[in-house]
Amino acid sequence: MQMQYSDDLIQSYIDLIKQKEDSVKKKRALARLITLIENGGPEIAQKIIPQIYNLTGHAKIIGITGAPGSGKSTLTSQIADHYLEQGLKVSVIAVDPTSPFSGGALLGDRIRMKKNFTNPRFFIRSMANRGQLGGLAMATKDVIHVLDAYHSDIIIIETVGVGQSEIDIFKSAHTTLVITPPGLGDEIQAIKAGLMEITDIFVVNKMDRDGADKRVAELQTMLDFAENIEIKNDQTQAKVVRCDGWRPPVIKTNGVTGENVPLLLENIKKHQEFLNQTGFIKKRLQFRYKHYIVEILKYFLVKNVEEIVFTNEKINEFIEKILSHEQGADPYSISGAIMEIFRDRYFS
């Protein structure tokens, strides 16, 4: 199945989403742009993002992640409700997994978000991860920018149900919530690496269940540990992610009844104020755009490399050397030599 689009069509969608007033046409244009980016990847995104980038930077981006069934969608719906009541424009990207066997996907996050389907200030998009590891889809970063240019005040990104190491969300969100319901393991789970390290706010959802208070205590103990371990000369990415001086609060919630959701929102606000006051927001954004650029570069470099290796005549000389077992000619040495050529051409 081929994808049909023309540059004129893309342009007309971009013009529509730039409009201030909301309309059905504008929503449809937004939906179409997202479809184009999902199907076309960076090839299409490079026609769209440069035209809208100067409209971005307004939206607050909230990431919601956690194990499957921890209540991410239900809580997303509750959080969206509150922002909508405040008169804000809210957009949600809800990511669910693609089957590695059929390539199909069952996207069921909308089921939990029925209440505001018809609110003109609300936009939900279900997104299959299409095999991307890390908890998000390849298109997510680009789509966040499109939603930002669409004048969303709040963008909520709900990841696939994650395990321990699908942590890409912190490269996109201003504030990352990790949902961790009671009954999922002991305090050792809480000091493991990965998910627990990227958290800005812990949410112990399903607070009505047994073990919720124990879960809170375990997380607090883990945070006590973290505060008392000081690593000298910690210049790693961890420093940017953790933000010295911010101890992630642990909030109990009930996603079904909405209990404590206002408290959660207060803490999201506090976190965003903290980022702004301390200047960490800038560090996070620098970090975020470095990752964004690396992803784009990876795509286009791989494409270039493949083109060059498979079409450039000069490569054949190198290949011949490998085949004839010439001194110093093996796949690694030759790749090193090719890298040198690349560096000379593009980075010197």
Binding site: V24, G104, R110
Partner: protein
């Protein structure tokens, strides 16, 4: 450029029987489609909004309560009013044969009853996409 086919499976009205819709959603997932299931008790407006936002290639409506002569045309009318004319609309569930011509007249492309093979629906969708 490859593109994935996206579908919405929706249950309009008060009918609470969604086993069929779930089987269809799951089966079409296995046939390689991206299937958005929106859950029970959807109003025509809810469904139209989901279609606008999710930009699917086809909308699959399932109903077992007998309300299809009212709800299906209501949905196709609202889709048209919102400028959505390139989405294939299919019906399923318990739908008497004598009702089918009127539904087709209203813009439902095909109706699939009990016993339909998933493969048949998958083939029909692939062969009849409107874009």
């Amino acid at each position: 450029m490859e593109r994935k086919i996206r579908l919405i499976v929706a249950k309009p009205g008060l009918d609470g029987h969604d086993r069929g819709a779930k089987v269809i959603a799951r089966g079409l997932r296995d046939a390689g489609f991206e299937v958005i299931y929106t859950g029970l008790h959807q109003t025509p407006d809810d469904i139209v909004q989901s279609v606008i936002q999710e930009d699917p290639d086809a909308l699959l409506l399932s109903i077992l309560s007998g309300a299809h002569p009212v709800l299906f045309p209501e949905i196709t009318k609202k889709l048209h009013e919102n400028g959505v004319d390139d989405v294939l609309v299919l019906g399923g569930g318990i739908i008497p044969e004598e009702d089918v011509p009127a539904l087709k007249e209203a813009g439902v492309s095909e109706v699939f009853g009990p016993g339909t093979k998933i493969q048949e629906i998958a083939d029909y969708i692939r062969a009849n996409l409107k874009r």
